[in-house]
Amino acid sequence: MMELVCPAGTPAALRAAVEAGAHAVYCGFSDETNARNFPGLNFSTEELTAAVAGAHKRGAKVLVALNTFPRAGAEGLWHKRLADAESAGVDAVILADIGLLDYAATNHPKLRRHLSVQAAAANPDAINFYAEAFDVKRVVLPRVLTVQEIAAINKEIDVETEAFVFGGLCVMAEGRCALSSYATGLSPNMNGVCSPASHVVYAEEGPDLAAKLGGFTIHRTPKEQPAPYPTLCKGCFTSGEQTGHVFEDPVSLDARHLIPALAQAGVTALKIEGRQRSRAYVAEVVRAFRAATDALAEGRELPLAELARLTEGQQATAGAYAKTWR
């Protein structure tokens, strides 16, 4: 059975995901140690301890993301969070930074380590390096690989792989992007945020509504239309004669029809993005994906129609798995 790894931004979302059939949930502490460091999101140590007990009672695992790059002079905070995660009884930590992986392997050898997508390990050599150096047991694959490439990678590695199947899509190589800090001073790697709301301004300019990030206009829409959130790499820009989405069209990943192919490619776990999403959204997505993984395990046809309405009204893509732009 493929393991379904589901997002939990809050204790309530975690319970909802587990009740909806998540095999595992992932979450973070309420600070800069994880890449979804948003106001009102994430867990205190006490909340995490209670959440782990609740999830374990229902047979679900809890994975904790400590996937930012510790700040020089302040590594102690990240080290403390590793200890907190281990005391809370979590099933694994998801790490990206070499220094933190090294520290965890040395000081918390029994705490299972997964390699975060933020490490962007996109080939067997990189994955084998992390596996050999830090005894990483699972690698979350970057969203730049085709199914064939994933299959080829799995033939050359011994660790488990986890692939994103649903939710937001990073355009750039994950963990190697400083676009957000160039515009705002805050980045995923250093602060656990990308295009932070604290730096967003919506300005009415004539007939338009301009969505600005750190003073740079990312979108411009007629006032009566809904204005998209100004995520930097999904913005509309001009280059020479061209105006449009220079980096990526604002679509989200939907690879549900590829679940059997990913299973065939040797993928162990399927990951759903969206720790910032509501409890209701998480429950609905998890339920639908659990029905799909159950169907796959039992050799039944995948209930894709049930998933269809989740992306209704939005543009979705199979992303790099299809790689139409190559």
Binding site: E75, G99, V144, R176, Y182, A183, C233, F237, T238, S239
Partner: protein, 302 residues
């Protein structure tokens, strides 16, 4: 101690003649070392890799220390092979992707480039134990982190470099934006990135210069410039400023920084001298001590 200068690998796709000319002239530039190699796109390599041994010999002959760079984003099998082969060339290798760590022969010293995530003392210490002797930090790091890393570098015998001048490398992608802007598939790019010798500018819808694209790489539109921070960086313990190749009189740029490090010219004079040839026509130094990377609080001319 006075800082010295490293010329980083050329991030852009220039013709063979332009590349040869650039390195031939660089013999006379007041820089201690030069990193040579293709960082951005392996498809560019066949156009100039046969010249690399000659470039290396030319620079070494002029007394420069030379290292070879790996690619910045390694995915394909042939790219993995190229990376492995670099370690057989008898020169220091500058790694710009963690993939290379799998291939470094035990006990071989190496350098770490600005595209590798070295954000803290733990990572620096690990890389030092693996054999790193020189690390150019990621450009987004603030002065405070730089100072902490220099201290760790001193303890571990690692020289720390900081991005001194050039458009700031901000992101890498599997996708080629040059090809996309020309409605071409990546496999049929026809090497269109070669027409923009300092990258292709991307403006906001308000016409504000913002970013620039260079194949699969995204850089700042403004040119990163540490002219106003040379004393602070030296104070922090930085060994070396890194200068990134750009068009125009690059040797004069190197001379300008050498003069700045020697205290012969002021930051304002250096900036005034460099502005006419700065890609994007403006500077940024906000990553070092500003509210954001794009920030620049100084008058741009003396």
């Amino acid at each position: 101690m006075t800082m010295d200068l490293t010329v980083g690998a050329n991030l852009f796709f220039w013709t063979t003649d332009a590349t040869r000319g650039f390195y031939e002239r660089l013999r006379a530039a007041p820089v201690a070392r030069v990193v040579v190699g293709e960082v951005v796109c392996s498809k560019r390599l066949p156009f100039w890799e046969h010249d690399i041994p000659l470039i290396v010999a030319t620079l070494k002959d002029a007394g420069k220390e030379v290292a070879l760079s790996t690619l910045g984003l390694i995915t394909l099998n042939r790219e993995r092979g190229k990376t492995k082969d670099l370690f057989d060339m008898g020169l220091p290798v500058e790694i710009n992707d963690i993939t290379a760590l799998k291939h470094i022969p035990e006990g071989t010293p190496f350098w770490v480039g600005p595209l590798v995530n070295v954000y803290n003392e733990g990572t620096l210490a690990y890389l030092a134990r693996k054999g790193a002797t020189r690390i150019c930090l990621p450009p987004e790091l603030p002065l405070k982190s730089i100072a902490a890393l220099c201290k760790a570098g001193k303890d571990a015998g690692v020289a720390v470099e900081v991005w001194g001048h050039g458009r700031l490398p901000l992101a890498m992608s599997a996708r080629c934006y040059h090809a996309r802007l020309h409605d071409r598939a990546k496999d049929n790019c026809q090497f269109i990135c070669g027409v923009d010798l300092d990258g292709r500018e991307v403006d906001t819808l308000d016409g504000q210069a913002f970013l620039s694209v260079n194949g699969v790489q995204t850089l700042s539109a403004a040119t990163g410039c540490a002219a106003y921070y040379t004393e602070a960086l030296a104070e922090a313990g930085v060994s070396t400023l890194r200068l990134s190749p750009q068009t125009g009189d690059f040797n004069a740029l190197c001379q300008g920084y050498a003069d700045r490090l020697a205290g012969k010219i002021s930051p304002a004079d250096l900036v005034a001298k460099l502005l006419p040839e700065a890609p994007g026509g403006r500077f940024a130094d906000g990553f070092l001590d500003g509210p954001s990377g794009s920030d620049w609080q100084h008058p741009i001319s003396a």
